[in-house]
């Protein structure tokens, strides 16, 4: 299915690659800009300690990507929380396990084991995506309404265009 999709955006911090895919909607012609449907993502996680291994790949929908953003963001903010007692062993500081249960992925993994630099890179890629996603053209759920508005505007223009001469007459 992804082969018919177009790559919309790629984020490439050192230890992961986040790709956003989507299909261009025929309604784009009317909207005057690219509208996307079936938006999905592929995330490739490289482990610098295991260079001979294939990267771990996670695929999913835009909703699952939003869940992943929430999981990583919550985990990171909890990690950065200032505590009276800041002491913890080095292993606990540098190795992290995130549960992916809320994503309900059709294929494993259910958990992500990340080093702290991998977590940093992933958080940055997802932050960049979150900030840009508001600007990315979408069709899912909300955009048919926008498309409808475009249609209405077009129809109104046509009525005005055809209607005016009759009035003048």
């Amino acid at each position: 299915m992804l082969s018919t999709n177009a790559l919309i955006r790629r984020y490439t911090p050192p230890t992961c690659t986040l790709e956003i895919w989507g299909k261009r909607s025929p309604l784009s012609l009317w909207a005057g800009r690219n509208l996307l449907k079936d938006v999905g993502f592929q995330l490739y996680l490289d482990d610098p300690r295991q260079t001979e291994r294939e990267p771990l790949v996670i695929k999913g929908s835009s909703y699952q990507l939003q869940s992943l953003c929430d999981v990583v963001s919550n985990y990171m903010q909890n990690l950065l929380q200032f505590r009276e007692n800041m002491t913890s062993p080095i292993q606990e500081l540098t190795q992290h396990q995130l549960s992916l249960d809320s994503l309900a992925l059709s294929t494993p993994p259910d958990t992500l084991n990340l080093s702290i630099t991998q977590l940093f890179d992933l958080a940055n890629a997802l932050d960049e995506y979150s900030q840009e996603s508001a600007l990315l053209p979408k069709l899912d759920k909300t955009l048919p309404r926008k498309a409808l508005l475009t249609w209405s505007a077009t129809a109104a223009t046509l009525i005005i265009a055809f209607g005016l001469p009759f009035r003048i007459r």
């Binding site: 903010q77 500081l93 702290i116 940055n124």
Partner: protein, 192 residues
């Protein structure tokens, strides 16, 4: 570090640090301590002194908040864990915002060094090595421990193991604050 990263202007960064309700006394004390310790970690790791902090304030158009060494000293002395007059000066929200932007600016300038240090810490953790045997980490630990013991009230009573763990926790925090979104991450960590 990444070609796609764009820096926001200081004004727009300031606007990205909202405050829903004023922090209570306990939160304010935590904020003052947290900001001072992060600056201490930057001092130890990147050899950043008052001059570089004041320069960052100038670049960010925050001279009004941090005009000179005395103003900076007073701000940092607001940390209640400081020896002597620590905690006497109040830190208002605008001053806290200014320090957040300054810390993240300095962390961003030193991101490569911070990342290299954190990567070395990962290796050390995986291989079960002693971190102080790696020059970069050892130098940082020495500087941080010295600053901490000089300035913090009960600094001398901490073991070297506890100091090491505090130093590395702050170093990792700085990595997260060195990115484009760092100021928002730090603000959220201060005001959960």
């Amino acid at each position: 570090m990444y070609p796609t990263v764009k820096t926001s202007s200081p004004v727009s960064q300031w606007q990205q640090l909202p405050l829903e309700s004023p922090p209570d006394e306990g939160q304010l004390d935590n904020i003052k301590t947290h900001l001072d310790l992060l600056l201490m970690a930057l001092e130890a790791l990147a050899k950043i002194g008052s001059e570089a902090i004041l320069q960052a304030a100038q670049v960010l158009n925050l001279e009004g908040m941090v005009a000179d060494r005395v103003a900076l000293w007073r701000l940092r002395q607001s940390n209640p864990l400081r020896k002597g007059s620590g905690g006497r000066k109040k830190l208002d929200v605008e001053e806290a915002r200014s320090l957040v932007l300054i810390i993240c600016h300095l962390a961003s300038q030193n991101q490569e060094l911070i990342r290299r240090s954190v990567s070395l810490l990962e290796q050390v953790g995986n291989q079960g090595q002693a971190p102080h045997r790696i020059a970069l980490l050892g130098d940082y630990l020495d500087s941080f421990s010295q600053l901490y013991q000089e300035r913090i009230e009960q600094g001398e009573s901490l073991t070297s193991g506890q100091l090491t763990e505090i130093a590395f926790k702050l170093m990792i925090d700085l990595l997260f604050y060195s990115s484009r979104n760092g100021h928002r991450r730090l603000w959220l960590a201060l005001l959960p």
